[in-house]
Amino acid sequence: MLATLLIVFREIFEAGLIVGIVLAATKGVPARGIWIGFGTIAGVAGACVVAAFAGEIGQLFQGSGQELFNATVLMIAVVMLAWHNIWMASHGREIAQDMKRIGAEVAAGDRPLFALAVVCGLAVLREGSEVVLFLYGVLTAGGTSLPSMALGGALGVLAGMAVSALMYRGLLAIPARYLFRVTSGLITLLAAGLAAQAVAFLQQAGYNDTLTFTAWDTSWLLPEDSVVGRLLHTLIGYTDRPSAAQLVVYVLTVAVILGLMGGQRTRMLRTAPSPAVTSRS
């Protein structure tokens, strides 16, 4: 039971952290519950499909289907997160002004919720498919009694959601005027971490042979398998032994997102007197 609880908890927690950040980043947006709820449910459904076809996916691309699938899912999430941040950079000012003028509800409605719903869906899909595979494996193998497994799984889900909710509450404790800056920063690092993870999958499948040497080794200081290590791994992509390629991609992702955000902001400032022109970019 304990093993089931731990595995389910870990996966739910990893997906839950991402959903928590997204929820914090969309605080005050009216329709966010529907979008993110729908994304999450679609993620659960997707997880079941992926788990059911795990063998078939793995056979694709000379046995590298699983790695390419994971890398693709991760990269889509990276693009969606980047897009959200860039959009916020160009519209954040408007939103802040409108908030003062007419209240948050109307102004904040036009956020790229679609992108963030996709991010939540993909996070749930990736982690959830591992849970489904695991539970299915336990079921078919027999041995462990079903009730104890069900109990472990249920407790794992609850514990994972509880910790994610705590983290969401923690983010909301940040004063409103800093909140979006913090969530933008978190989303940038989250995206960079996911991009670095995608590199690891490509490396594992043999698609990348360059810069495979280890950039540093902090496994003695903060092992990735420890609680804090896992937390940081999920949040900002911490890895105790990153390859140089991962490091390069991480830094590049941060640089590109910040660069595009900065570019949007300058453009907004330049055209600030006529907000009608800049409503969409």
Binding site: A3, V79, A141, Q204, G206, Y207, T239, D240
Partner: protein, 113 residues
């Protein structure tokens, strides 16, 4: 930057990466078998500084995930199936791995020397 442009740029990067990549070449291949949720051999020796290909065969009926944060490998192996992963050139040292779904018994280590 609009979403379509961002998407197509990323797709281009991904395509170039995949197209320009080499598939797993015929390097020193190592086999490891999962049976009764245990690895055989549980201790794998590889030369340090050289890439290697690890083929994992799952002789159990249930699915297993070969997992190692040290090796940066995560691979689901279906029951009765097998899968290959590429190990990057490793510095000398010990790199533990496990079967995530049966971590109490499925433990092993890669030793690079």
């Amino acid at each position: 930057m609009t979403l379509p442009r961002l998407l197509s740029a990323s797709l281009l990067v991904l395509t170039v990466t995949v197209a320009g990549a080499q598939l797993v070449a015929a390097e020193s291949g190592i086999s490891v078998t999962i049976k009764d949720h245990k690895f055989t051999p549980a201790e794998i020796h590889v030369p340090a500084g050289k890439p290697a290909v690890l083929t994992i065969k799952n002789e159990d009926g249930s699915v297993e995930e070969f997992d190692s944060s040290a090796l940066k490998i995560e691979k689901v192996i279906a029951g009765g199936g097998e899968g290959s992963v590429r190990l990057r050139p490793l510095d000398p040292g010990r790199y533990p791995f496990m079967g995530e779904y049966h971590a109490d018994t499925a433990q092993g280590v890669v030793i690079a020397e």
